[in-house]
Amino acid sequence: MKAHLSRRYLFSASHRLHSNAMSAAENRETYGKCNNPHGHGHNYTLEVTVSGPVDPSTGMVCNLVDLDGFVHQEVLSRYNLENLNTLKEFDQTVPTTENLCITIFEILQRGFKSAHLDKVKLEETMMNSFEYTGGIEARS
């Protein structure tokens, strides 16, 4: 039997949306308040969904301790209470929540081998959320 397990985590970070490919006026027009040179912050909610057969001996898709350990070490400790614009992955890439969502998906896909990664969902505020499934159509 295949099940899908989702786990939610919190982290806080600041960012400024600014593209080097645009003029100052274009940046202001495109990003509005998010283009403020001093940046601003969010409390992000990260939701990670993994799937796989339920192991009959443990009743689990994967051990939650492994998933929590990986996410804390590779994602939360990297982004929590940081300015995203200062990190190398956002040196040339605008740290929109779309790009952050894809980046986190790629970190998990590269390093987390205990279950199949289905989806990364990132809530920037209670009103905005983004989902990335590695280019596969998302499941309803």
């Binding site: 039997m1 295949k2 099940a3 899908h4 985590y9 443990t58 009743g59 689990m60 301790v65």
Partner: protein, 136 residues
């Protein structure tokens, strides 16, 4: 096709233990969840059914009937129970959230008449949940 989701809440206790493992293995794998006296959660169940809208009633499914089935098949059996000791599926199986979602699917699937079961989602806590779509 329209998808309809009905929520319910129930509270139950459980513990994780595999008698084939040594006490040390059980402790290592399951940590605090291995305490044989159990511990509890407030579970939230979401049942999603899918179907075409009936042109006469405007319903995918009669919500009253869906609610009755969920109460009879799931809540009456699991609410305020010790899952390992009082729910037959978990006399042998470990009552993880994964197995709970599968057991609830199996209890509901044959009892729903008008609509097809699409998904069973079980929240063990607000930050941990499992989806089961009936996949083998």
């Amino acid at each position: 096709m329209v998808y309809l989701t009905r929520k319910a809440e129930f509270s139950a206790s459980h513990y994780y233990h595999n008698p084939d493992f040594t006490p040390e293995e059980n402790a290592r794998l399951f940590g605090k969840c291995n305490n044989p006296n159990g511990h509890g959660h407030n579970y939230t169940l979401e049942v999603t059914v899918k179907g075409e809208v009936d042109p006469r009633s405007g319903f995918v499914v009669d919500l009253k009937k869906l609610k009755e089935v969920m109460h009879r098949e799931v809540l009456d059996a699991m609410d305020h129970r010790f899952l390992n000791k009082e729910v037959p599926e978990f006399y042998k199986q470990i009552p993880t959230t994964e197995n709970l979602a599968i057991a609830i699917w199996q209890r509901l699937e044959s009892k729903l008449q008008q609509a097809h079961l699409h998904r069973v989602r079980v929240y063990e806590t607000p930050d941990l949940f499992v989806d089961f779509y009936g996949e083998k």
